[in-house]
Assembly symmetry: C2
DNA sequence: ACACCAACTGTACGTCATACACACCACTCT
DNA sequence: AGAGTGGTGTGTATGACGTACAGTTGGTGT
Protein backbone atom coordinates (compact mmCIF):
# COMPACT_ATOMS: atom_id res chain seq x y z
CA UNK A 1 0.00 0.00 0.00
CA UNK A 2 2.73 2.36 0.94
CA UNK A 3 4.93 2.67 -2.11
CA UNK A 4 7.66 4.38 -0.18
CA UNK A 5 9.86 2.19 1.82
CA UNK A 6 13.54 2.15 2.36
CA UNK A 7 15.27 -0.43 4.47
CA UNK A 8 18.59 1.28 4.12
CA UNK A 9 17.40 4.21 6.20
CA UNK A 10 17.56 4.16 9.98
CA UNK A 11 14.08 3.33 11.10
CA UNK A 12 13.73 6.54 13.09
CA UNK A 13 14.51 8.72 10.10
CA UNK A 14 12.25 6.73 7.87
CA UNK A 15 9.46 7.15 10.36
CA UNK A 16 10.07 10.86 10.63
CA UNK A 17 9.75 11.20 6.88
CA UNK A 18 6.74 8.96 6.82
CA UNK A 19 8.40 6.53 4.46
CA UNK A 20 8.58 3.57 6.80
CA UNK A 21 7.26 0.37 5.31
CA UNK A 22 3.95 -0.60 6.84
CA UNK A 23 3.16 -4.30 6.74
CA UNK A 24 -0.09 -5.62 5.35
CA UNK A 25 -0.48 -9.01 6.90
CA UNK A 26 -1.25 -9.94 10.47
CA UNK A 27 -3.73 -8.58 12.99
CA UNK A 28 -4.75 -4.98 12.75
CA UNK A 29 -2.40 -2.63 14.51
CA UNK A 30 -3.80 -1.22 17.69
CA UNK A 31 -1.17 1.42 18.18
CA UNK A 32 0.60 3.84 15.93
CA UNK A 33 3.78 5.78 16.12
CA UNK A 34 2.19 9.16 16.58
CA UNK A 35 0.36 7.89 19.61
CA UNK A 36 3.51 6.48 21.10
CA UNK A 37 5.58 9.56 20.45
CA UNK A 38 2.85 11.74 21.79
CA UNK A 39 2.59 9.79 25.00
CA UNK A 40 6.34 9.94 25.40
CA UNK A 41 6.33 13.69 24.87
CA UNK A 42 3.62 14.15 27.42
CA UNK A 43 5.65 12.23 29.97
CA UNK A 44 8.76 14.23 29.16
CA UNK A 45 6.87 17.50 29.42
CA UNK A 46 5.62 16.56 32.83
CA UNK A 47 8.50 14.67 34.38
CA UNK A 48 11.49 15.23 32.19
CA UNK A 49 13.22 13.11 29.63
CA UNK A 50 14.61 10.71 32.19
CA UNK A 51 11.08 9.67 33.08
CA UNK A 52 10.59 8.44 29.54
CA UNK A 53 11.22 4.73 29.56
CA UNK A 54 9.83 2.12 27.24
CA UNK A 55 7.87 0.84 30.17
CA UNK A 56 6.49 4.20 31.29
CA UNK A 57 5.37 5.04 27.79
CA UNK A 58 3.80 1.65 27.30
CA UNK A 59 1.89 1.80 30.57
CA UNK A 60 0.66 5.29 29.75
CA UNK A 61 -0.84 3.78 26.63
CA UNK A 62 -2.14 0.68 28.33
CA UNK A 63 0.11 -1.73 26.48
CA UNK A 64 3.05 -3.87 27.40
CA UNK A 65 6.56 -2.60 27.14
CA UNK A 66 7.51 -4.89 24.34
CA UNK A 67 4.61 -3.92 22.14
CA UNK A 68 6.35 -0.63 21.42
CA UNK A 69 9.10 -2.47 19.64
CA UNK A 70 6.68 -3.26 16.87
CA UNK A 71 6.73 0.43 16.01
CA UNK A 72 10.18 1.51 16.95
CA UNK A 73 13.39 -0.44 16.67
CA UNK A 74 15.00 1.03 19.75
CA UNK A 75 14.50 3.69 22.33
CA UNK A 76 16.80 5.96 20.36
CA UNK A 77 14.30 5.97 17.54
CA UNK A 78 11.63 7.10 19.92
CA UNK A 79 13.82 9.88 21.27
CA UNK A 80 14.65 11.04 17.78
CA UNK A 81 10.98 11.19 16.91
CA UNK A 82 10.17 12.97 20.14
CA UNK A 83 12.68 15.63 19.26
CA UNK A 84 11.34 15.96 15.75
CA UNK A 85 7.72 16.20 16.83
CA UNK A 86 8.58 18.35 19.83
CA UNK A 87 10.32 20.92 17.66
CA UNK A 88 7.32 21.08 15.42
CA UNK A 89 7.22 23.23 12.33
CA UNK A 90 8.57 26.76 12.65
CA UNK A 91 5.94 29.49 12.68
CA UNK A 92 5.76 30.95 9.20
CA UNK A 93 5.56 34.44 10.65
CA UNK A 94 9.31 34.24 11.09
CA UNK A 95 9.84 34.96 7.42
CA UNK A 96 7.22 37.69 7.27
CA UNK A 97 9.73 40.48 7.41
CA UNK A 98 12.14 41.95 4.95
CA UNK A 99 14.74 42.65 7.61
CA UNK A 100 17.00 39.67 8.05
CA UNK A 101 17.94 40.74 11.54
CA UNK A 102 14.38 41.01 12.64
CA UNK A 103 13.72 37.66 11.01
CA UNK A 104 16.58 35.94 12.78
CA UNK A 105 15.49 37.41 16.07
CA UNK A 106 12.03 36.01 15.50
CA UNK A 107 13.57 32.69 14.62
CA UNK A 108 15.59 32.73 17.80
CA UNK A 109 12.65 33.62 19.97
CA UNK A 110 10.48 31.00 18.37
CA UNK A 111 13.09 28.36 19.10
CA UNK A 112 13.28 29.57 22.68
CA UNK A 113 9.52 29.25 22.92
CA UNK A 114 9.76 25.66 21.85
CA UNK A 115 12.47 24.97 24.41
CA UNK A 116 10.34 26.63 27.06
CA UNK A 117 7.46 24.37 26.17
CA UNK A 118 9.59 21.24 25.89
CA UNK A 119 12.68 21.73 28.02
CA UNK A 120 13.58 18.07 27.66
CA UNK A 121 14.57 18.72 24.04
CA UNK A 122 17.75 20.20 25.46
CA UNK A 123 18.50 16.82 27.00
CA UNK A 124 18.29 15.02 23.68
CA UNK A 125 21.84 14.50 22.55
CA UNK A 126 22.72 16.00 19.19
CA UNK A 127 23.57 13.17 16.86
CA UNK A 128 24.56 14.94 13.67
CA UNK A 129 23.33 17.44 11.16
CA UNK A 130 19.55 17.80 11.18
CA UNK A 131 17.93 15.34 8.82
CA UNK A 132 14.29 15.21 9.78
CA UNK A 133 11.57 17.33 8.21
CA UNK A 134 10.77 19.71 11.03
CA UNK A 135 14.37 20.27 11.92
CA UNK A 136 15.16 20.99 8.32
CA UNK A 137 12.16 23.27 8.11
CA UNK A 138 13.63 25.41 10.87
CA UNK A 139 16.83 25.64 8.93
CA UNK A 140 14.94 26.30 5.74
CA UNK A 141 13.01 29.23 7.09
CA UNK A 142 16.20 30.64 8.54
CA UNK A 143 17.79 30.50 5.12
CA UNK A 144 14.73 32.15 3.68
CA UNK A 145 15.20 35.01 6.10
CA UNK A 146 18.74 35.38 4.83
CA UNK A 147 17.76 35.18 1.17
CA UNK A 148 18.36 38.83 0.28
CA UNK A 149 21.66 38.82 2.02
CA UNK A 150 24.95 38.81 0.13
CA UNK A 151 26.19 35.79 2.06
CA UNK A 152 27.02 32.66 0.16
CA UNK A 153 25.32 29.35 0.83
CA UNK A 154 27.90 28.03 3.21
CA UNK A 155 27.92 31.17 5.28
CA UNK A 156 24.16 31.21 5.51
CA UNK A 157 24.09 27.69 6.79
CA UNK A 158 26.96 28.50 9.13
CA UNK A 159 25.09 31.53 10.42
CA UNK A 160 22.00 29.46 11.12
CA UNK A 161 24.11 26.86 12.84
CA UNK A 162 25.59 29.58 14.96
CA UNK A 163 22.17 30.88 15.90
CA UNK A 164 20.97 27.37 16.67
CA UNK A 165 23.81 26.87 19.05
CA UNK A 166 23.19 30.16 20.72
CA UNK A 167 19.51 29.42 21.20
CA UNK A 168 20.25 26.05 22.73
CA UNK A 169 22.83 27.55 24.99
CA UNK A 170 20.63 30.41 26.08
CA UNK A 171 17.78 28.02 26.81
CA UNK A 172 20.13 25.81 28.77
CA UNK A 173 21.30 28.71 30.89
CA UNK A 174 17.78 29.97 31.37
CA UNK A 175 16.73 26.57 32.58
CA UNK A 176 19.53 26.47 35.09
CA UNK A 177 18.52 29.83 36.44
CA UNK A 178 14.95 28.69 36.78
CA UNK A 179 15.38 27.60 40.36
CA UNK A 180 16.41 30.94 41.78
CA UNK A 181 16.78 29.69 45.32
CA UNK A 182 19.48 27.29 44.25
CA UNK A 183 21.29 30.02 42.38
CA UNK A 184 21.38 32.27 45.40
CA UNK A 185 22.53 29.42 47.63
CA UNK A 186 25.21 28.43 45.16
CA UNK A 187 26.46 31.99 44.94
CA UNK A 188 26.61 32.24 48.70
CA UNK A 189 28.52 28.99 48.98
CA UNK A 190 30.85 30.15 46.26
CA UNK A 191 31.62 33.34 48.13
CA UNK A 192 32.86 31.34 51.10
CA UNK A 193 35.04 29.10 48.97
CA UNK A 194 36.79 31.46 46.63
CA UNK A 195 39.17 34.13 47.71
CA UNK A 196 39.79 37.44 45.99
CA UNK A 197 43.46 36.51 45.71
CA UNK A 198 42.68 33.33 43.84
CA UNK A 199 40.21 35.00 41.50
CA UNK A 200 41.11 38.68 41.32
CA UNK A 201 38.91 39.36 38.32
CA UNK A 202 36.09 36.97 39.00
CA UNK A 203 35.59 37.79 42.64
CA UNK A 204 34.58 41.41 42.12
CA UNK A 205 32.34 40.37 39.26
CA UNK A 206 30.43 37.98 41.45
CA UNK A 207 30.32 40.53 44.22
CA UNK A 208 28.86 42.94 41.69
CA UNK A 209 26.10 40.43 41.08
CA UNK A 210 27.18 39.32 37.63
CA UNK A 211 26.14 35.81 38.54
CA UNK A 212 22.71 36.62 39.84
CA UNK A 213 19.65 35.89 37.81
CA UNK A 214 19.15 38.56 35.17
CA UNK A 215 18.09 41.72 36.86
CA UNK A 216 19.02 44.67 34.70
CA UNK A 217 21.40 42.82 32.47
CA UNK A 218 20.38 43.32 28.88
CA UNK A 219 18.28 40.27 28.55
CA UNK A 220 19.35 39.01 25.19
CA UNK A 221 23.05 39.75 25.38
CA UNK A 222 24.10 36.60 23.60
CA UNK A 223 21.88 36.83 20.54
CA UNK A 224 22.55 40.49 20.19
CA UNK A 225 26.27 39.82 19.94
CA UNK A 226 25.68 37.00 17.50
CA UNK A 227 23.44 39.11 15.32
CA UNK A 228 25.94 41.94 15.44
CA UNK A 229 28.57 39.52 14.33
CA UNK A 230 26.49 38.31 11.43
CA UNK A 231 25.70 41.90 10.54
CA UNK A 232 29.38 42.71 10.38
CA UNK A 233 29.96 39.72 8.16
CA UNK A 234 27.18 40.83 5.86
CA UNK A 235 28.53 44.35 5.74
CA UNK A 236 32.01 43.10 4.98
CA UNK A 237 30.83 40.85 2.21
CA UNK A 238 28.58 43.41 0.60
CA UNK A 239 31.31 46.02 0.66
CA UNK A 240 33.53 43.56 -1.10
CA UNK A 241 35.97 43.54 1.74
CA UNK A 242 37.23 40.06 2.51
CA UNK A 243 36.63 38.98 6.05
CA UNK A 244 39.81 39.64 8.00
CA UNK A 245 41.33 36.26 8.69
CA UNK A 246 41.82 35.13 12.25
CA UNK A 247 45.47 35.03 13.21
CA UNK A 248 46.57 31.50 12.49
CA UNK A 249 47.02 29.24 15.45
CA UNK A 250 50.38 27.48 15.22
CA UNK A 251 48.65 24.27 16.17
CA UNK A 252 45.98 24.64 13.57
CA UNK A 253 48.07 24.40 10.47
CA UNK A 254 46.87 20.87 9.94
CA UNK A 255 43.79 19.34 8.51
CA UNK A 256 41.06 18.90 11.06
CA UNK A 257 41.75 15.25 11.86
CA UNK A 258 45.38 15.98 12.14
CA UNK A 259 44.75 18.87 14.41
CA UNK A 260 42.51 17.00 16.78
CA UNK A 261 45.05 14.26 17.04
CA UNK A 262 47.69 16.85 17.74
CA UNK A 263 45.65 18.60 20.40
CA UNK A 264 44.85 15.32 21.98
CA UNK A 265 48.50 14.50 22.12
CA UNK A 266 49.45 17.83 23.57
CA UNK A 267 46.95 17.64 26.37
CA UNK A 268 47.69 14.00 26.90
CA UNK A 269 51.38 14.75 27.13
CA UNK A 270 50.74 17.50 29.60
CA UNK A 271 48.76 15.11 31.70
CA UNK A 272 51.01 12.22 30.95
CA UNK A 273 53.33 12.47 33.87
CA UNK A 274 50.56 12.83 36.36
CA UNK A 275 48.75 9.94 34.80
CA UNK A 276 51.81 7.75 34.78
CA UNK A 277 52.43 8.49 38.40
CA UNK A 278 48.91 7.53 39.24
CA UNK A 279 49.06 4.44 37.10
CA UNK A 280 52.10 3.34 39.04
CA UNK A 281 50.36 4.08 42.28
CA UNK A 282 47.45 2.00 41.13
CA UNK A 283 49.67 -0.88 40.15
CA UNK A 284 51.47 -0.68 43.46
CA UNK A 285 48.16 -0.95 45.23
CA UNK A 286 47.09 -3.85 43.07
CA UNK A 287 50.31 -5.69 43.78
CA UNK A 288 50.06 -5.03 47.48
CA UNK A 289 46.57 -6.41 47.42
CA UNK A 290 47.63 -9.51 45.55
CA UNK A 291 50.37 -10.11 48.02
CA UNK A 292 48.01 -9.65 50.88
CA UNK A 293 45.58 -12.07 49.31
CA UNK A 294 48.29 -14.67 48.91
CA UNK A 295 49.46 -14.34 52.47
CA UNK A 296 45.98 -14.82 53.66
CA UNK B 1 43.31 17.07 60.85
CA UNK B 2 41.62 18.83 58.01
CA UNK B 3 40.27 22.03 59.46
CA UNK B 4 38.13 22.67 56.43
CA UNK B 5 34.97 20.75 56.27
CA UNK B 6 31.49 21.68 55.34
CA UNK B 7 28.62 19.28 55.47
CA UNK B 8 26.25 21.77 53.93
CA UNK B 9 28.07 21.57 50.61
CA UNK B 10 27.28 18.91 48.05
CA UNK B 11 29.95 16.32 48.45
CA UNK B 12 31.13 16.67 44.88
CA UNK B 13 31.73 20.40 45.22
CA UNK B 14 33.42 19.96 48.54
CA UNK B 15 35.71 17.38 47.01
CA UNK B 16 36.49 19.62 44.08
CA UNK B 17 37.54 22.38 46.44
CA UNK B 18 39.45 19.97 48.59
CA UNK B 19 37.43 20.83 51.63
CA UNK B 20 35.74 17.49 52.11
CA UNK B 21 36.00 16.16 55.62
CA UNK B 22 38.44 13.31 55.84
CA UNK B 23 37.80 10.88 58.67
CA UNK B 24 40.43 9.96 61.22
CA UNK B 25 39.22 6.69 62.56
CA UNK B 26 39.06 3.33 60.93
CA UNK B 27 41.41 1.41 58.68
CA UNK B 28 43.73 3.28 56.42
CA UNK B 29 42.16 4.23 53.13
CA UNK B 30 43.46 2.25 50.21
CA UNK B 31 41.96 4.42 47.52
CA UNK B 32 41.61 8.13 47.04
CA UNK B 33 39.39 10.33 45.00
CA UNK B 34 42.04 11.42 42.54
CA UNK B 35 42.75 7.82 41.68
CA UNK B 36 39.09 7.08 41.15
CA UNK B 37 38.46 10.16 39.05
CA UNK B 38 41.54 9.47 37.03
CA UNK B 39 40.52 5.92 36.29
CA UNK B 40 37.08 7.14 35.28
CA UNK B 41 38.59 9.74 32.96
CA UNK B 42 40.80 7.18 31.35
CA UNK B 43 37.81 4.97 30.65
CA UNK B 44 35.86 7.90 29.26
CA UNK B 45 38.77 8.95 27.06
CA UNK B 46 38.99 5.50 25.61
CA UNK B 47 35.41 4.34 25.43
CA UNK B 48 33.23 7.36 26.03
CA UNK B 49 31.30 8.58 28.99
CA UNK B 50 28.70 5.86 28.72
CA UNK B 51 31.38 3.28 29.45
CA UNK B 52 31.96 4.88 32.82
CA UNK B 53 30.00 2.91 35.35
CA UNK B 54 30.68 2.50 39.00
CA UNK B 55 31.50 -1.08 38.27
CA UNK B 56 33.82 -0.40 35.34
CA UNK B 57 35.75 2.17 37.32
CA UNK B 58 36.00 -0.09 40.33
CA UNK B 59 37.26 -3.04 38.32
CA UNK B 60 39.79 -0.85 36.59
CA UNK B 61 41.12 -0.06 40.04
CA UNK B 62 40.87 -3.61 41.31
CA UNK B 63 38.24 -2.86 43.92
CA UNK B 64 34.60 -3.67 44.34
CA UNK B 65 31.90 -1.42 43.01
CA UNK B 66 30.65 -0.45 46.40
CA UNK B 67 34.02 0.61 47.67
CA UNK B 68 33.79 3.72 45.53
CA UNK B 69 30.88 4.92 47.57
CA UNK B 70 33.25 5.50 50.45
CA UNK B 71 34.73 8.32 48.40
CA UNK B 72 31.83 9.61 46.41
CA UNK B 73 28.21 9.85 47.45
CA UNK B 74 26.80 9.13 44.03
CA UNK B 75 27.83 8.69 40.46
CA UNK B 76 26.91 12.29 39.81
CA UNK B 77 29.67 13.36 42.15
CA UNK B 78 32.12 11.34 40.16
CA UNK B 79 30.95 12.84 36.90
CA UNK B 80 31.22 16.33 38.31
CA UNK B 81 34.76 15.67 39.41
CA UNK B 82 35.62 14.12 36.07
CA UNK B 83 34.46 17.27 34.36
CA UNK B 84 36.41 19.46 36.75
CA UNK B 85 39.61 17.47 36.43
CA UNK B 86 39.13 16.93 32.72
CA UNK B 87 38.87 20.66 32.07
CA UNK B 88 42.05 21.23 34.00
CA UNK B 89 43.47 24.66 34.59
CA UNK B 90 43.50 27.04 31.64
CA UNK B 91 46.92 27.66 30.10
CA UNK B 92 48.21 30.93 31.47
CA UNK B 93 49.46 31.90 28.02
CA UNK B 94 45.89 32.88 27.25
CA UNK B 95 46.29 36.11 29.14
CA UNK B 96 49.72 36.87 27.73
CA UNK B 97 48.47 39.36 25.23
CA UNK B 98 47.23 42.88 25.45
CA UNK B 99 44.67 42.38 22.70
CA UNK B 100 41.42 41.14 24.14
CA UNK B 101 40.37 39.66 20.85
CA UNK B 102 43.54 37.68 20.52
CA UNK B 103 43.15 36.60 24.12
CA UNK B 104 39.60 35.40 23.66
CA UNK B 105 40.60 33.52 20.56
CA UNK B 106 43.34 31.81 22.50
CA UNK B 107 40.83 31.03 25.21
CA UNK B 108 38.47 29.55 22.68
CA UNK B 109 41.13 27.42 21.06
CA UNK B 110 42.38 26.21 24.39
CA UNK B 111 38.89 25.09 25.33
CA UNK B 112 38.58 23.34 22.00
CA UNK B 113 41.84 21.57 22.68
CA UNK B 114 40.45 20.28 25.93
CA UNK B 115 37.31 19.07 24.22
CA UNK B 116 39.41 17.37 21.59
CA UNK B 117 41.36 15.58 24.28
CA UNK B 118 38.28 14.72 26.35
CA UNK B 119 35.29 14.65 24.04
CA UNK B 120 33.17 13.08 26.74
CA UNK B 121 33.11 16.40 28.58
CA UNK B 122 30.53 17.47 26.03
CA UNK B 123 28.32 14.66 27.26
CA UNK B 124 28.40 15.86 30.84
CA UNK B 125 25.15 17.68 31.41
CA UNK B 126 25.49 21.29 32.49
CA UNK B 127 24.06 21.58 35.95
CA UNK B 128 24.33 25.28 36.70
CA UNK B 129 26.80 28.09 36.84
CA UNK B 130 30.38 26.88 37.19
CA UNK B 131 31.32 26.49 40.82
CA UNK B 132 34.43 24.38 40.86
CA UNK B 133 37.99 25.72 40.87
CA UNK B 134 39.13 24.84 37.40
CA UNK B 135 35.90 25.87 35.78
CA UNK B 136 36.05 29.17 37.60
CA UNK B 137 39.69 29.54 36.60
CA UNK B 138 38.69 29.40 32.96
CA UNK B 139 36.16 32.11 33.57
CA UNK B 140 38.69 34.07 35.60
CA UNK B 141 41.31 34.12 32.89
CA UNK B 142 38.68 35.13 30.39
CA UNK B 143 37.76 38.08 32.56
CA UNK B 144 41.41 38.94 32.87
CA UNK B 145 41.65 39.08 29.10
CA UNK B 146 38.77 41.54 29.11
CA UNK B 147 40.20 43.65 31.91
CA UNK B 148 41.15 46.67 29.82
CA UNK B 149 37.86 46.65 28.08
CA UNK B 150 35.17 49.23 28.82
CA UNK B 151 32.59 46.52 29.45
CA UNK B 152 30.99 46.35 32.85
CA UNK B 153 31.18 43.27 35.03
CA UNK B 154 27.92 41.75 33.92
CA UNK B 155 28.75 42.15 30.27
CA UNK B 156 32.15 40.59 30.73
CA UNK B 157 30.67 37.57 32.37
CA UNK B 158 27.96 37.47 29.72
CA UNK B 159 30.59 37.63 27.01
CA UNK B 160 32.51 34.75 28.51
CA UNK B 161 29.32 32.77 28.84
CA UNK B 162 28.64 33.43 25.19
CA UNK B 163 32.09 32.26 24.21
CA UNK B 164 31.74 29.18 26.39
CA UNK B 165 28.56 28.26 24.65
CA UNK B 166 30.08 28.79 21.26
CA UNK B 167 33.08 26.64 22.07
CA UNK B 168 30.89 23.82 23.31
CA UNK B 169 28.72 24.07 20.26
CA UNK B 170 31.60 24.15 17.85
CA UNK B 171 33.18 21.16 19.53
CA UNK B 172 29.89 19.33 19.38
CA UNK B 173 29.55 19.98 15.68
CA UNK B 174 33.16 19.08 15.02
CA UNK B 175 32.65 15.80 16.79
CA UNK B 176 29.64 15.00 14.68
CA UNK B 177 31.60 15.68 11.54
CA UNK B 178 34.38 13.43 12.68
CA UNK B 179 33.00 10.39 10.94
CA UNK B 180 33.07 11.73 7.43
CA UNK B 181 31.67 8.61 5.85
CA UNK B 182 28.50 8.94 7.83
CA UNK B 183 28.15 12.56 6.87
CA UNK B 184 28.38 11.78 3.21
CA UNK B 185 25.90 8.94 3.53
CA UNK B 186 23.50 11.10 5.47
CA UNK B 187 23.71 13.85 2.87
CA UNK B 188 23.03 11.36 0.11
CA UNK B 189 20.03 9.97 1.94
CA UNK B 190 18.79 13.46 2.58
CA UNK B 191 18.98 14.29 -1.09
CA UNK B 192 16.59 11.45 -1.89
CA UNK B 193 14.13 12.47 0.79
CA UNK B 194 13.82 16.21 0.40
CA UNK B 195 12.46 17.89 -2.64
CA UNK B 196 13.43 21.31 -3.95
CA UNK B 197 9.79 22.35 -3.69
CA UNK B 198 9.63 21.50 -0.02
CA UNK B 199 12.87 23.24 0.79
CA UNK B 200 13.48 25.88 -1.86
CA UNK B 201 16.25 27.59 0.07
CA UNK B 202 17.81 24.64 1.79
CA UNK B 203 17.96 22.34 -1.20
CA UNK B 204 20.33 24.47 -3.25
CA UNK B 205 22.44 25.06 -0.19
CA UNK B 206 22.93 21.37 0.34
CA UNK B 207 23.51 20.87 -3.33
CA UNK B 208 26.18 23.53 -3.11
CA UNK B 209 27.85 21.45 -0.45
CA UNK B 210 27.05 23.67 2.51
CA UNK B 211 26.53 20.55 4.58
CA UNK B 212 29.75 18.84 3.67
CA UNK B 213 32.61 18.69 6.10
CA UNK B 214 34.52 21.96 6.12
CA UNK B 215 36.32 22.30 2.86
CA UNK B 216 36.94 25.92 2.08
CA UNK B 217 34.47 27.34 4.54
CA UNK B 218 36.22 29.76 6.83
CA UNK B 219 37.03 27.35 9.55
CA UNK B 220 36.16 29.42 12.56
CA UNK B 221 33.04 31.12 11.27
CA UNK B 222 31.19 30.90 14.56
CA UNK B 223 33.81 32.38 16.84
CA UNK B 224 34.64 35.06 14.35
CA UNK B 225 31.03 36.23 14.40
CA UNK B 226 30.91 36.06 18.16
CA UNK B 227 34.12 38.03 18.52
CA UNK B 228 32.89 40.56 16.00
CA UNK B 229 29.75 40.91 18.05
CA UNK B 230 31.68 41.47 21.24
CA UNK B 231 33.91 43.94 19.41
CA UNK B 232 30.88 45.90 18.33
CA UNK B 233 29.61 45.91 21.88
CA UNK B 234 32.94 47.18 23.12
CA UNK B 235 33.05 49.86 20.46
CA UNK B 236 29.53 50.97 21.30
CA UNK B 237 30.24 51.15 24.99
CA UNK B 238 33.53 52.98 24.63
CA UNK B 239 32.00 55.50 22.25
CA UNK B 240 29.36 56.14 24.88
CA UNK B 241 26.65 55.00 22.55
CA UNK B 242 24.09 52.89 24.34
CA UNK B 243 23.63 49.48 22.81
CA UNK B 244 20.66 49.68 20.47
CA UNK B 245 17.89 47.74 22.15
CA UNK B 246 16.43 44.73 20.43
CA UNK B 247 12.92 45.36 19.21
CA UNK B 248 10.70 44.19 22.03
CA UNK B 249 8.93 40.93 21.55
CA UNK B 250 5.26 41.32 22.44
CA UNK B 251 5.49 38.09 24.37
CA UNK B 252 8.53 39.14 26.30
CA UNK B 253 7.10 42.01 28.25
CA UNK B 254 6.99 39.90 31.39
CA UNK B 255 9.47 38.86 33.95
CA UNK B 256 11.38 35.78 32.96
CA UNK B 257 9.29 33.29 34.90
CA UNK B 258 6.19 34.88 33.60
CA UNK B 259 7.44 34.74 30.08
CA UNK B 260 8.39 31.14 30.14
CA UNK B 261 5.04 30.23 31.56
CA UNK B 262 3.42 32.25 28.84
CA UNK B 263 5.44 30.67 26.06
CA UNK B 264 4.75 27.30 27.45
CA UNK B 265 1.06 28.03 27.39
CA UNK B 266 1.12 29.34 23.88
CA UNK B 267 2.85 26.33 22.47
CA UNK B 268 0.77 24.04 24.62
CA UNK B 269 -2.39 25.69 23.38
CA UNK B 270 -1.28 25.33 19.82
CA UNK B 271 -0.69 21.68 20.41
CA UNK B 272 -3.66 21.31 22.65
CA UNK B 273 -6.23 20.24 20.16
CA UNK B 274 -4.01 17.63 18.62
CA UNK B 275 -3.08 16.36 22.03
CA UNK B 276 -6.67 16.22 23.19
CA UNK B 277 -7.64 14.31 20.12
CA UNK B 278 -4.91 11.83 20.72
CA UNK B 279 -5.72 11.57 24.39
CA UNK B 280 -9.28 10.70 23.45
CA UNK B 281 -8.05 8.18 20.96
CA UNK B 282 -5.88 6.65 23.63
CA UNK B 283 -8.76 6.47 26.08
CA UNK B 284 -10.96 4.94 23.47
CA UNK B 285 -8.40 2.25 22.90
CA UNK B 286 -8.02 1.67 26.61
CA UNK B 287 -11.76 1.30 27.03
CA UNK B 288 -12.02 -1.03 24.11
CA UNK B 289 -9.29 -3.13 25.58
CA UNK B 290 -10.96 -3.25 28.96
CA UNK B 291 -14.20 -4.29 27.38
CA UNK B 292 -12.43 -6.98 25.42
CA UNK B 293 -10.75 -8.20 28.57
CA UNK B 294 -14.08 -8.42 30.40
CA UNK B 295 -15.74 -10.33 27.62
CA UNK B 296 -12.96 -12.80 27.65
C1' DA C 1 -8.62 -23.86 3.53
C1' DC C 2 -4.19 -23.11 4.61
C1' DA C 3 0.07 -21.18 5.38
C1' DC C 4 2.43 -17.50 6.86
C1' DC C 5 3.54 -13.64 9.11
C1' DA C 6 2.56 -9.90 12.10
C1' DA C 7 0.68 -7.89 16.67
C1' DC C 8 0.85 -8.12 21.34
C1' DT C 9 2.22 -10.86 25.64
C1' DG C 10 5.31 -13.00 28.96
C1' DT C 11 9.43 -14.18 30.52
C1' DA C 12 14.17 -13.78 30.87
C1' DC C 13 18.82 -11.74 30.81
C1' DG C 14 22.46 -8.52 31.53
C1' DT C 15 23.60 -4.03 33.19
C1' DC C 16 23.17 -0.36 36.15
C1' DA C 17 22.99 2.55 40.56
C1' DT C 18 22.72 1.96 45.05
C1' DA C 19 20.81 0.24 49.84
C1' DC C 20 22.16 -2.58 53.56
C1' DA C 21 24.46 -5.78 56.45
C1' DC C 22 28.73 -7.71 57.43
C1' DA C 23 33.65 -8.47 59.06
C1' DC C 24 37.44 -6.15 60.20
C1' DC C 25 40.42 -2.31 61.83
C1' DA C 26 42.51 1.87 64.09
C1' DC C 27 42.01 5.67 66.74
C1' DT C 28 40.00 7.62 71.20
C1' DC C 29 38.59 7.45 75.66
C1' DT C 30 38.52 5.19 79.85
C1' DA D 1 45.36 -2.20 78.42
C1' DG D 2 40.77 -2.69 76.87
C1' DA D 3 36.47 -1.30 75.20
C1' DG D 4 33.81 1.49 72.10
C1' DT D 5 32.95 3.77 67.89
C1' DG D 6 32.99 4.99 63.53
C1' DG D 7 35.36 4.05 59.71
C1' DT D 8 37.13 0.46 55.86
C1' DG D 9 36.34 -2.69 51.88
C1' DT D 10 33.12 -6.77 50.67
C1' DG D 11 28.96 -9.35 49.53
C1' DT D 12 24.53 -9.68 48.52
C1' DA D 13 20.19 -7.86 47.20
C1' DT D 14 16.80 -4.85 44.94
C1' DG D 15 14.45 -2.45 41.54
C1' DA D 16 14.70 -0.15 37.14
C1' DC D 17 16.04 -0.34 32.62
C1' DG D 18 16.63 -1.83 27.47
C1' DT D 19 15.79 -5.45 24.76
C1' DA D 20 16.21 -10.57 23.07
C1' DC D 21 13.34 -14.41 22.39
C1' DA D 22 9.54 -17.47 22.41
C1' DG D 23 4.86 -18.01 22.59
C1' DT D 24 -0.26 -17.19 21.28
C1' DT D 25 -3.53 -15.37 18.50
C1' DG D 26 -5.55 -13.37 14.46
C1' DG D 27 -5.73 -11.45 9.33
C1' DT D 28 -4.39 -11.77 4.72
C1' DG D 29 -2.77 -13.63 0.30
C1' DT D 30 -2.61 -18.00 -1.99
Amino acid sequence: MDPLEDDSLPRGIALAWGVAANPQRGPKRELNIELIVDAAIQIADEQGLSAVSMSSVATALGFTTMSLYRYVTAKDDLILLMQEVGMGAPPLSIAETSDWRDGLLRWYRAVLDVFAAHPWILDVPIVGAPNTPNNLAWLEIGLEVLKDTPLDQRSRVAAMLLLSGQSRWEAQIARNYMREGEVAAANAALATLMTPEQFPYLYPAIAAGAFDADADNPFEFGVSRVLDGIAKNIADVSSGRPAPPQPPDPNREFARDEHVKKARERVKDAEGKLRDARQKEREAIAKARERAAKLQ
